[in-house]
Chain length 366, copies 2
Amino acid sequence: MVSPLPPDRSPEPSPVSPAGAVGAPLELLWPENPVLVRATRGHAVESVHRGAWCVVDADGALIDGRGAFRDAVFVRSAVKCAQALPLIETGAAERFGFDDADLALAVSSHDAEPEHVARAAGILARLGLDEGALQCGPQAPGSSDARFALRLEGRRGTRLHNNCSGKHAGFLALALHLGDDPARYLAEDSAAQRHVRAAVRDVSLVEDFELRTAIDGCSAPTFHIPLSGLAALFARVANPRELGAVRRAAAERIVAAVRANPTLLAGSKQRLCTDLVRVTGGRVFPKVGAEAVYAIGVPAGPGRAGLGIAVKMDDGAPRGLSAVVVALLERLGLLTPDEVRALAAWRSPVLRNWAGLEVGRLEVEL
Amino acid sequence: MVSPLPPDRSPEPSPVSPAGAVGAPLELLWPENPVLVRATRGHAVESVHRGAWCVVDADGALIDGRGAFRDAVFVRSAVKCAQALPLIETGAAERFGFDDADLALAVSSHDAEPEHVARAAGILARLGLDEGALQCGPQAPGSSDARFALRLEGRRGTRLHNNCSGKHAGFLALALHLGDDPARYLAEDSAAQRHVRAAVRDVSLVEDFELRTAIDGCSAPTFHIPLSGLAALFARVANPRELGAVRRAAAERIVAAVRANPTLLAGSKQRLCTDLVRVTGGRVFPKVGAEAVYAIGVPAGPGRAGLGIAVKMDDGAPRGLSAVVVALLERLGLLTPDEVRALAAWRSPVLRNWAGLEVGRLEVEL
């Protein structure tokens, strides 16, 4: 059964963690977050990246972590998998003919390669809608090939090229199925977004009063939850045994859809999410979010316990994040030596200059 | 007179500051550097940028600062003005017909717009050389228009498009003038690089034994000096009264060349260095370096003391850096209210999403 919806009301004002609130003293902004990554040049460290990470078991109980992992972070696109649960649970996906590739796109942050854009347009067509129904805003493609192709045609990135267009197509399907006005599919009091909120709350084990929101890059509500809650969300989506039967089936379908469609999850070139799924054959279920958030669900398997992992880098930049993510997987024994080698460019990049000379390294210390 | 050269020898091994050395404990990596910038989203802080800054007087004496400004940083492209002093002082610039625009390019980190590339090629032609003599490595243009134009022709970025091609053209002129083998113009024991090192040492007031080097992004030696030394370098280049007569004239010519050619210093679009020179009418002399280094010289003027300013952000990323630089100029009373408004997009950007909604702000607290 679908989890019951919370009453239709605005979120109550909630106690805000003193660290992180706008206007709070700067000294509270995560002094406990350690240097996780250093960029070296010759004999010295040139730059550093600080952050927090944590690991939880399949039920969301904390196993390990460093830094302020109990503080709330904006989870951004990292939780698209949970935001897509109601699409399946309510029957909207079945009604509108979503196959696994469509579902992978619905949980993706894609580079607007031709396959991504065509698939988003295809979903909208089945809904009887077009690009104009998307409220995610226009974005230049993440793919440089796609940007060049658009510019050759004298065009700019559209809403279909927005990295979230798959999620929004899924939201629109959910909204139509639930009888929402599709012009209000992002409103927090719409049936669609109430279902989405309830799903995020349920799988993250965060109390409703703690689940504050702000506006995401694509104008959807984004959630502000403890980093440990993000890890729990991924642990439980990848290991949904404690979820209700309908939610469990939806979670299993999403994880399988991503495993089968790694390029739809992100892109064909230099995207860590796609590379992690490809290299591990889908043994991990990863997702990045803007401002350097990352989460991974590890389904339990032969000789392998289920896990959830979450990382947030203070500076919001990708360089340190990718190295930390792969280093954590390695530390947890989740990668074979061959897989570590295949991911070395993310984990331990040699920093080369324009002439190809080695000038330094990126070094992780968890 | 030109400052005397140090003896022709490799730099001696020097005492390394414990913080910053490769292999040093991570806890020493600048815990004293405060959060200078927060990126907010709705009710909360999403990401932060830490760093250090300092201000010195016209003679290089410390006035103010926060964080680890006595620790060494790689100054990268920020010191191109000092690296270009010997080009003028030795007569190489005069011999090879460098005008002020050529000198501005020689101290630039440019976006490879057509004017930048053509001017670099023109200098090389006067030297009897071509692109093949440059050892900076090929780089895709910083300008997206230039990247698109190149790709339309089926070409990639060349050494002329490297953001340092002007500096390298200047190095080659110096090397030829001093009788160096132009194939070795980047070698630390070449006459050219010995002159460059001596100039950097002299204007930064850093002792020779402290002046360690590593390989820059363009394969030139880059210098590792205290952030306060970088501030002193800019204070003294912009206020060269204590320098020898020849060096003083060279410094004055470079500052004037940049004032007259702000677009050659960086680029026509969204470049803080160019905007600062344009907006202030050249009342400040700014330069960025890779990995989030920035320095500004303020020439003394009517009712205004000479100053040097230097900033290094821990994470090496530009977002926090630009906001800190403009906020410092504002705090020091160096900008008129109109200038503050003209630079607001750098100083206090409103963070908008793809649909144009305001989602947060970048806030500086020095």
